[in-house]
Symmetry: C2
């Protein structure tokens, strides 16, 4: 699990000593990056089902996208398919996992061990995918000391020391909105460069830090928008166009 920094240069298959034809990670479009985890999951499922090779058509179906999009996405990573045959399931899985950095071991801290923090700390998907939780933190003295999934909840004071000693680079924020920015600043100061923010607020970070936001309320509101759109659509039951004489 502990590959070195130039991990992707390793020559597992004995092919491609020079990767000049392969796109740089920086050149992979963001929309493509966001779909790589889906492809990885689909490939895992296909491997478990015993398949050795898969066509772009079948893999796309399993991942819930169109086959043209899938082939375009994979083309950004390089050419790992065989015309007339398809993709070798295990090999493609390995390539994508490499590109996603899942062959490194990323160290994660979770700050805010409320309901959601508890749920995330107990999430089995961390370890199996190259993510190791190295610290759980909370301010609440009644929560501090509690053991969650085999790991004690520490006081917030110990945040910086643990991040530094544990070498954590990913921070998960499950704190109230009001304190999210402050906690984030401390994480960044201690060396975290990637933040997954569950707090319902905008947080600002220096340019070298990545933030992704997961927002339950927003997701529900977007669903509500479309539900309302359906209800108001012409032809929908009870729909009346504004200004229309009924």
């Amino acid at each position: 699990m502990d590959d070195d920094v130039v991990g992707s240069a390793r020559l597992r298959t004995g092919r491609r000593l020079y990767e000049s034809a392969v796109t740089n990670p920086a050149d992979v479009p963001e929309a493509t990056v966001s779909r790589l985890p889906q492809y990885l999951r689909a490939l895992s499922a296909l491997a478990e089902a015993g398949l050795r090779t898969v066509s772009s058509e079948a893999l796309a179906e399993a991942a819930g996208v169109g086959s043209a999009k899938l082939r375009k996405d994979l083309s950004y990573l390089g050419s790992y398919g065989t015309r007339g045959v398809g993709y070798e399931v295990g090999e493609l899985h390995q390539h994508i996992a490499d590109r996603l950095g899942l062959t490194s071991s990323w160290r994660v801290v979770i700050v805010g061990i409320g309901n959601l923090g508890h749920a995330l700390a107990g999430y089995g998907g961390f370890a199996s995918r190259g993510f190791g939780v190295v610290g759980l933190f909370d301010v609440d003295p009644t929560v501090v000391g509690e053991v969650v999934s085999g790991m004690p909840v520490r006081p917030l004071d110990e945040l910086e020391a643990t991040v530094r000693e544990g070498g954590a680079t990913i921070g998960v924020l499950t704190v109230p909105a009001a304190v999210a920015q402050g906690v984030c600043d401390r994480l960044v100061a201690a060396g975290v460069t990637s933040v997954l923010n569950f707090a319902p607020t905008v947080i600002r970070v220096p340019e070298h830090v990545d933030v992704r936001k997961v927002d339950l309320a927003s997701e529900l509101q977007i669903l509500a928008f479309h539900a309302q759109r359906k209800a108001h659509a012409p032809g929908a039951p009870g729909h009346v166009r504004v200004g229309e004489v009924v």
Copy 2:
């Protein structure tokens, strides 16, 4: 809270009897829809801070976007600003809330009361935003009957009856991937038309049903991709270009 179907036609401000110039909800771009909750949140914060009016520049700053994008987004909803002045905070909040359908009361069921289901059931943001939880479900007999946030967990058998009687149209899936499709099918058959899927699997639904997916593992993997990109970037410590003679 219980506005009727033509709620957005109500004439709160006495203006705009005919809305012909205003875009249909169907015409609001998806990217814009996904930002409306952020704007709503920013407006709430500004209102709490006592502001009456706000410029696109200041609102954009609070929402974490550019001002040009904000003005373009708002233009899809209609013209609620005043040139030379800005937007009236309360009025704009009301308009966006209307468009998102938050003045209706959406009924929600949550299926799968594990760690994450617990967290969501206890989430305070539901009620305050026009979402009412009308049912919690699990298959596990040791969980069924437990009272979570004042509501008893019911056996899965009662899913259809509760969805129908409660008039739920939104279903939240916090079940294992293996059973997600089956539970989703039952939700849809019972009348749910919007699904928020936390299960790490692709689920298929009829065309009239909306699905949004929240996926912790994917989010972490996307962060890992960018972290790896940073580590491999030219100039990064320890970076060696593939094929380069060191």
